[in-house]
Amino acid sequence: MKIKTIVTVFLILSLYTAQLFAGDITIIANKSVDVSKLSKKDVKKIFLGKKRKWDAGDKIIFVTLQKKSDSHKKFLKTYVKKNPSQFANFWKKLVFTGKGKMPKYFKSEEAMVKFVAKTKNAIGYVSSNIDLGNTKKISIN
């Protein structure tokens, strides 16, 4: 019984912490994107190149922040379950075997917002305190 209680409390705390952590990052997309909600799994698949098209059939253009960015680290930990080095190596592996191209990255979150706002089918992420400009916020299930 005690073990059950401990496990339940642990799970609730873990979920609560994860929600708190996830709350630090906002997923943004170009207004042309025909979805307003994504699951965490979808976000992971998009940024690992495993989901390549939106439901309407248009190619997904995903962009990232530079490796040293705190928001990049938080985003990867929360959604992609990799650290920045693992994420970079994942893409280098595809690049050096001819199976993919390195994601475009930005040095600042403001630059990412501008790019996503003007690029059809684009998706990115920023800290929750950043002005989302002319992008749309994607809710996470």
């Binding site: 698949k45 495993k50 989901k51 390549r52 098209k53 190619k59 490796k67 379950k81 990799k82 650290n83 080095s85 693992q86 970079a88 190596n89 280098k92 592996k93 690049v95 050096f96 075997t97 001819g98 199976k99 191209k101 390195m102």
Partner: protein
């Protein structure tokens, strides 16, 4: 057939440049890497002159790729390496293929394609992706690097989303290949003749691959960071060699050794688990060989004819841990068990020529995003991996334990 495939590869290159000059909106990506290493062994020569210490240990790769449409991408990489008796910095086409991906679960590639063989074979030359300098020899033998590396053909691939069961990616490739590198060492290793003491009296003349097919599966489990891999490949090939000096088994100089290998089959089972900065991994490989060989005198007389059925295995377990942005440490233990008799029926002696137990400790320094430096030490029991061709003429295989130091610098962009 090979000329046709060479033509296809060349055409891919030309098409890529030609079409791109008209399709100005297509972005061209160029990436590359250059590595320079140093190897020193306490005893024996590990491919190069490592007993004295050698810098004949480098790799250079340059690739170019572009996407013509959302579904079609084309690319190629040229590659050059020097690894002791292998490579000699000859420039080769490492991969060159057109890739059409109709859906996430269905794509097709045609051209020269990297071959899956365990989880890490396709990236074995991309040094910055792993902590160790040398991959575990039990699964990623340097002797057979060129036999396992890439192939000409057509491959189908994709990934299935299995909902709560994770996802399953697959590759199925069929075709043939040109075996580059040191023909003698690879031919004799495949024929089971590289462990015996008289192999310096043999020469490999030709390795001709008729067909090869490969199946690779990776299951990304629902548990984040845990994945399993399975690869299967079979190669049908023929090998020709020459006896340079009369062998102890009284086979005269000038005789020809031929082998028709209808089964050179590998199965690799893999596991990798990553939790934040910590990773554990392990793989098991089994190789089965079946072939007929003949030894014919220079006058055309059949001296010996036999059928060989042989199986060997190897496995390793390893770990790595990122301490901070600069430093990653890692270690692995790798074990190989080879045949106890060579192809001609001679018992391999001493016994340590039939096994290899390698304990390796590595450090990797990520100096910048583009520059890495690695340092590595090996304590090795057994000499199965070592080719008699690389040893000094007075070598007597007297030591069953030896050590190796490796360091490597890599720049990539």
């Amino acid at each position: 057939m090979k000329k046709l495939l060479l033509f296809i590869t060349t055409t891919l290159f030309i098409t890529m440049f030609a079409v791109n000059s008209f399709a100005l909106e297509a972005e061209v990506d160029i990436h590359g890497f250059i590595s320079q290493g140093y190897l020193k062994t306490s005893d024996y020569n590990f491919f190069g002159n490592t007993e004295e210490g050698t810098a004949q240990f480098n790799e250079i790769g340059l690739n170019i790729s572009t996407e013509f449409t959302d579904e079609l991408r084309v690319g190629a990489q040229i590659f050059s390496k020097d690894f002791g008796s292998y490579g000699d910095n000859e420039v080769i086409v490492d991969w060159a293929f057109a890739d059409y991906r109709a859906a996430d679960w269905a794509g097709v590639r045609a051209g020269k394609i990297k071959t899956p063989h365990g989880l890490y074979n396709e990236t074995r030359d991309v040094d910055m992706l792993r902590t160790s300098v040398l991959l575990p020899q039990s699964v990623y033998s340097e002797v057979l690097r060129d036999v396992n590396m890439s192939m000409h053909g057509v491959g189908f691939y994709g990934e299935f989303d299995m909902a709560s069961a994770g996802s399953l990616s697959y590759q199925i490739i069929g075709g043939t290949q040109d075996v580059e590198g040191d023909t003698t060492s690879q031919a004799m290793y495949i024929m089971g003749l590289s462990s015996t003491s008289y192999t310096t009296d043999l020469q490999g003349d030709e390795i001709d691959v008729d067909k090869k097919y490969v199946v690779g599966l990776v299951w990304d489990t629902p548990l984040d960071g845990l994945r399993f891999g399975f690869t299967y490949d079979n190669t049908e090939l023929s090998i020709k060699g020459t006896v340079l000096n009369t062998l102890p088994t009284l086979i005269p100089a000038g005789s020809t050794i031929s082998a028709d290998i209808n089964k050179l089959q590998n199965i690799v089972i893999s596991l990798e688990y990553t939790i934040d900065d910590f990773q554990i991994f392990g793989e098991y490989k089994r190789t089965d060989k079946e072939f007929d060989y003949t030894i014919t005198s220079s006058g055309g007389t059949l001296l010996k004819q036999a059928r060989v059925e042989d199986d060997t295995y190897g496995w390793y377990v390893g770990t790595s841990y990122r301490i901070n942005d600069l430093l990653v440490i890692g270690a692995y233990y790798s074990e190989t068990k080879g045949a106890e008799e060579d192809t001609t029926g001679v018992t391999i002696d001493p016994e340590h020529r039939t096994y290899l137990k390698d304990t390796c400790v590595s450090t990797k320094f990520d100096i910048t995003d583009n520059i890495i430096v690695k340092l590595e030490g090996h304590y090795i029991q057994g000499t199965e991996i070592l080719s008699a061709f690389d040893q000094e003429t007075d070598n007597t295989w007297s030591k069953d334990e030896w050590g190796m130091f490796a360091c490597k610098f890599t720049y990539s962009f």
